[in-house]
C-alpha cells in the first residue's frame, strides 16, 4: 500500500478522476469510459494501450476537453492545471487549451490545412497563443521546425502539407502543438501508418522532447513496442475501463492482468521466429455482461469472474517484499496472472517445407509511370526478379513508396508493366501447357488465369461492397467459376468455414462485422476463386494486434491446405519474420536483397536491410528507442543510374555507387545482395 501513497508529490499536470463517459444511442446510454482515474505528473510519459473500441481515443480527447458529439460526462472530472477542462466555462477551456495542453491527432496529415503553407500554420498559433509579432513568430517557427528535427527548417516553412512525407507532416503537427508551449501533449496513435524507419525517428523525437523540454506526454497507441520504448507508465484499457496500470518495464515483464498478457503474446517479434498466439473473441461493451468484461476471452476466468461485480483496480503485490510500486490491476485472479509466463514464445514455429514447383516467375519487371523521358529519374519499378513456389510465402518488404503495391497491381493485371516477363505456371492448367503471361491486363486474361491470381487488400472495409452481403461477395466468385444454386451454396459455406466464419455470416453486411472478420471475408472471396497465387497487400497492418495474430495463422493454415503461393507485402518486419519463407527487400522499386528469412534477418545484409532491421522496435520491456538517424529528405523519385539507396547509404562509394548499377553478390546459396561494397565489409557492418 505504501506504493500507492508514494505517488508523485509534484502537482499533477492533469488529473482524470473517476471519469465516466456515455454515448447516447437508440437503446439508451452506452458507457464508453467507466470510472477511469489517471494522474499525470510533470514531465511524465504515460502510454495508453488496448484494442480499438476500448475507449483510448475517448480518454485522449477528454484530456483536451473534447467529447465527440452525442457523448457526455456521466461522472467524474478532468482537471488540467487544477481547472476543469470539460465542464469549465468556454473561456477557461480555451485558456487551458491555449496554454496547457496540446494534441496531435491521429493521422496528422489530414489535420493540416492543405491550402496553407506549413510555416504559416505554426505562425498563426504562435501569434494567437504567445502574442509574438510576425517576425518573432517566423523566427520561432524555424526554431521549432529545427526542434522537431525537420530537415532544412528555413526552406520547409514555405512548403504545403502535400509536399511533405508522412513523417514530416507528423513532425509539423507536433511543432504546432509545441508552439503553445504546453505542459501536456496528447498524442493519438502518432506512429500508426508510418513505416518503421519514420516510426523510430518520430519516437526518438518524443523521447528527446520529454528530456529537453520536460513536457508530459500521453501516448495513445495500439503499438505496444512504441509504448514500451518511450513511456514511464502504462495504462491498459479494456472495454472502457483501466484494467491494469503501472511502470512499463514491470507491467510488460510480468503482467498482472490476463488482457495485458494476451496483448503481449499476440505481437509478432523480431527476436523470435514463428507466429504469435492469437487472443480469442472481440471487445464487448463496458456493461454488456455481469462480472469482468474480459471474462469471456480469459483463460484464467473462474465462476466468480462471470457473476460478481466488475473487479475494481487493486494494488499489485508481486512476490517478495520489494514488489514494484504503483502497480494496480483489475483482476480477481491477479496471482494466477502474475504467475503465468508473460510471453511464452511463439506458439507456432515455422515448419521446414520442401519447396514446391515454381508457380510465379517474374524476370526484369519494369513499370514506368513517367509520361515522357526524364533524365533526372528512373522508372518506378525496374528490373525486379521474383520467384514464388507452390506453398511458399515470399515477402516483399520496404518503406512506403518502394513499389511493393505497384508490383502486386501489375501481377493482378491492374497496371500494365512497361517491360519484363511475368509467367504463371499454373498446375491447374493442362500439363505441359505454356505458362500464362501475366503481362496482360486483367480484362484480356483467360478467365482461368484471372482466377488463379487473387488480391487481398490492406483495408478490408473498403475492399468489401457495403451493400453486398458476405454470402453475396463470395458467391459472385463462385458464379464466375461456373457454380450454380446448390453447388454454389455448398461451396460458399465451405469457403467461409475455411476462413473460420460459420454460415450464419452469409446474410450479414460488411458494416456488421469487426475488422478481423471483414479481413476474413476478403480472404474468403479470394479463396472462392481457387487461386494458386495470392497477392496479400499489407493484409494485417490495419488490424489490432490481437486480430493480426489470428489472421496470420489463418494465412499460414490456408497455404498448407490449398498449396497456395503468397506474395506477402508488408512493412512490418516482425510479421514477415514470423510468416514468410523468403524475403525480397525493395528500395525505390529496385531489389536490394533476396534470401530466406533466416539469411536476410540474421546473416550478412544490405545496408538498407540493416537500416530497416535496426529501426524495428523491440517489443520487450525496457527496450530503448533505436537510434535511427533519418533526417534526410524523403526520396520519391528513383535515380536514373547507379544504386537507388546510395543517397542514404553510410557505405556509399562516390563515383561508383551513383554511376554503376551494383552487382549481385551471393554470400550463400539463394541469398543475393545487390551492393558495390564487398561482402566482407557488409559482414562487418551486420555484425555491429
Amino acid at each position: 500500500m505504501s506504493g500507492l501513497l508514494a505517488a508523485p508529490v509534484l502537482a499533477p499536470v492533469a488529473e482524470v478522476s473517476a471519469l465516466s463517459v456515455s454515448y447516447a444511442s437508440a437503446g439508451g446510454d452506452v458507457p464508453v469510459l467507466v470510472d477511469v482515474n489517471l494522474r499525470i505528473g510533470a514531465g511524465e510519459t504515460v502510454g495508453v494501450v488496448g484494442e480499438s473500441g476500448c475507449g483510448k481515443s475517448t480518454l485522449a480527447s477528454a484530456l483536451v476537453g473534447y467529447l465527440r458529439a452525442g457523448s457526455r460526462i456521466a461522472g467524474g472530472s478532468v482537471a488540467v492545471d487544477g481547472q476543469d477542462i470539460v465542464s469549465g466555462s468556454a473561456t477557461t477551456v480555451r485558456a487551458l487549451r491555449r496554454h496547457h495542453v496540446g494534441m496531435v491527432p491521429q493521422n496528422a496529415g489530414s489535420s493540416l490545412t492543405p491550402s496553407m503553407r506549413v510555416g504559416r500554420q505554426v505562425v498563426e498559433v504562435l501569434r494567437a497563443t504567445r502574442g509574438l509579432d510576425k517576425a518573432a513568430a517566423q523566427a520561432e517557427t524555424v526554431r521549432l521546425f529545427g526542434r522537431v528535427r525537420l530537415p532544412d527548417p528555413a526552406g520547409l516553412v514555405q512548403r504545403y502539407p502535400h509536399q511533405l512525407s508522412g513523417g514530416q507532416q507528423q513532425r509539423v503537427a507536433v511543432a504546432i502543438a509545441l508552439a503553445a508551449q504546453p505542459r501536456l501533449l496528447v498524442l493519438d496513435e502518432p506512429t500508426t501508418g508510418l513505416d518503421v524507419v519514420t516510426q523510430a525517428s518520430v519516437l526518438a523525437l518524443f523521447a528527446e522532447l520529454r528530456r529537453d523540454l520536460g513536457i508530459a506526454l500521453v501516448l495513445v497507441s495500439h503499438d505496444l513496442g512504441a509504448v514500451a520504448a518511450v513511456s514511464d507508465r502504462v495504462l491498459v484499457m479494456y472495454a472502457g475501463r483501466v484494467v491494469e496500470s503501472g511502470p512499463v518495464e514491470a507491467t510488460f515483464a510480468q503482467p498482472a492482468h490476463p488482457y495485458t498478457r494476451g496483448l503481449l503474446a499476440s505481437v509478432a517479434r523480431m527476436a523470435t521466429p514463428g507466429l504469435p498466439e492469437p487472443m480469442p473473441g472481440t471487445v464487448t461493451g463496458a456493461v454488456d455482461l455481469p462480472g469482468c468484461s474480459f471474462a469471456p476471452r480469459c483463460a484464467l476466468a473462474v465462476e466468480e469472474c462471470r457473476t460478481g461485480p466488475h473487479p475494481p483496480l487493486m494494488p499489485v503485490v508481486a512476490d517478495g517484499a520489494d514488489g514494484p510500486p504503483f502497480r494496480s490491476s483489475a483482476c480477481l485472479r491477479q496471482n494466477a496472472a502474475l504467475a503465468a509466463p508473460a510471453w511464452q514464445g511463439s506458439q507456432r514455429l515455422p515448419r521446414s517445407r520442401e519447396p514446391g514447383e515454381v508457380l510465379l516467375e517474374v524476370r526484369g519487371l519494369t513499370v514506368d509511370y513517367r509520361r515522357r523521358p526524364d533524365a533526372r529519374s528512373g522508372p518506378t519499378v525496374e528490373g525486379v526478379d521474383l520467384t514464388v513456389r507452390r506453398g511458399e510465402i515470399v515477402a516483399l518488404v520496404g518503406e512506403s513508396g518502394s513499389g511493393k503495391s505497384t508490383i502486386a497491381w501489375a501481377l493482378a493485371g491492374l497496371r500494365t508493366p512497361t517491360s519484363g516477363s511475368l509467367a504463371l505456371h499454373d498446375a491447374a492448367a493442362a500439363p505441359g501447357a505454356r505458362p500464362a503471361d501475366l503481362g496482360q491486363p486483367a480484362a484480356r486474361r483467360d478467365p482461368a488465369v484471372r482466377r488463379s491470381v487473387q488480391l487481398v487488400f490492406q483495408n478490408a472495409t473498403t475492399a468489401l461492397n457495403p451493400r453486398r452481403s458476405v454470402g453475396d461477395a463470395v458467391t459472385r466468385m463462385l458464379t464466375l467459376r461456373g457454380l450454380r444454386k446448390q453447388a454454389a451454396r455448398t461451396a460458399r459455406d465451405e469457403v467461409l468455414r475455411d476462413v473460420g466464419l460459420d454460415s450464419s455470416f452469409t446474410d450479414r453486411l460488411p458494416g456488421q462485422l469487426s475488422g478481423g472478420q471483414q479481413q476474413r471475408v476478403g480472404i474468403a472471396r479470394a479463396l472462392a476463386a481457387r487461386p494458386s497465387l495470392v497477392l496479400a497487400d499489407e493484409v494485417v497492418s490495419a488490424l489490432d494486434v490481437s486480430v493480426q495474430a489470428s489472421v496470420l495463422r489463418l494465412l499460414d493454415d490456408l497455404r498448407d491446405e490449398h498449396e497456395l503461393g503468397y506474395l506477402f507485402i508488408s512493412h512490418d518486419l516482425a510479421v514477415v519474420r514470423g510468416l514468410a519463407d523468403r524475403v525480397v527487400v525493395l528500395y525505390l522499386g529496385r531489389v536490394c536483397e533476396e534470401g530466406t528469412v533466416e539469411q536476410v534477418f540474421t546473416g550478412t545484409s544490405h545496408p538498407y536491410t540493416r537500416l530497416l532491421i535496426s529501426a524495428v522496435l523491440a517489443q520487450e520491456p525496457g527496450s530503448e528507442v533505436p537510434d535511427v538517424v533519418d533526417d534526410k529528405e524523403p526520396e520519391s523519385a528513383p535515380p536514373p543510374a547507379g544504386c537507388a539507396f546510395r543517397r542514404r547509404c553510410p557505405l556509399a562509394v562516390p563515383g561508383v555507387c551513383d554511376r554503376v548499377t551494383p552487382p549481385w553478390r551471393e554470400p550463400q546459396d539463394g541469398h543475393r545482395i545487390r551492393c558495390h561494397v564487398p561482402l566482407e565489409e557488409l559482414e562487418e557492418l551486420s555484425a555491429l
Partner: protein, 292 residues
Amino acid sequence: MTTASGTLRRSPGRARASRRRWGTSLALGTVLVAVNLLLALAAPLLTSYSPITPDGLAAVEGPSPAHWLGTDSLGRDVLTRVLYGGRYALAVSLSAAAVAIVLGTVLGCLAAYRRGWFDEVLMRLLDAVLSVPAILALLVVVTALGSGGPVIVLAATVIYAPAVIRVVRAAAFSVVSLDYVTAARARGEGFWAILRREVLPNILDVVLVEFAMRCSWIVLLVSSLSFLGFGADPPTPDWGLMVSENRTLLTVTPLSTVAPIVALATLIVGLNLAADGIAKARGIDRIVGGSR
C-alpha cells in the same frame, strides 16, 4: 456487433434523430406526390366531364354543385381540366426525368470509371450544353421540332442530363476508386456488371434525390413553357396553359386560374420535400440552385 465498437461507427443516436426530423418531410412529400399521382390516374373515375370538349352554354361560371371549381371561357369544367392536367404534367416530367436520370447515371458512371479522354471529351461537351440557358434551349428545340409531349421529353432530357451526369460522376468517382471496385476489375467483370453490382447500389441515394429534384424542375419548366405558349397546344389540359388562358378572367372566375396554380404548387413542393427528405436522411448535400 458489439456496442463498444458500434459506437465507433456512425452515431446511432444522431442518425435516428435525423431520421425522425427528416422523416416527416419525406413522408409529407411522398403523400403530396402520391395524392397528385392518384388524382391524375383516377381522373376519369372522379369526373364525368370531358377535359377538352367545350360547352358554350356553361362558359365562365362560378363554383356550383355541377362544377365545383366553375368553368372556363369555353365552358370546360375547371376541376376536370386540373385533374387531367396532372396526368400531362406527371407523364411529361416523370418520363423526362427518368430518361435524363438513366442516361445521366450511365454516362456519369462511365466517365468516372473510364476517366481519361472519354471523361475529358464528355465534360467539355457538357460544359457547352450547360452554358445555354434552359428555357432558351427549350424554346429553340420546340420551335425547330414543334411542340408536343415527346418533343418536350426529349428537350428536357437534353437540358437536364448534363447536370445529372456531373452529379452522378462526382458520386461515382468516390466509389470507383475503392478497393471493392478494384477487386471486381481484377476478377475481370465488365463495365455493366461493375455498374450494376458495385457502383449503383452505393450511389442509389444520390440518384434518387436527383430524380425527385429533376422531376420538380421539369414540371415547373414545362408549365412555364406552356404559359409562354410554346409547350402544350390547346386544348390540352396543361396547368401552365390553363393559367395563361384563364388569367384574363382572374377577377370573374378566380378559381379557374388559382386551381391549376395550387395543383402545380403542391406537386412541386411535394417533390422538393421528398428529395430533401431522402437527401437529409442519407446525409447527402442537397443539390443547390433553382430551376434553370
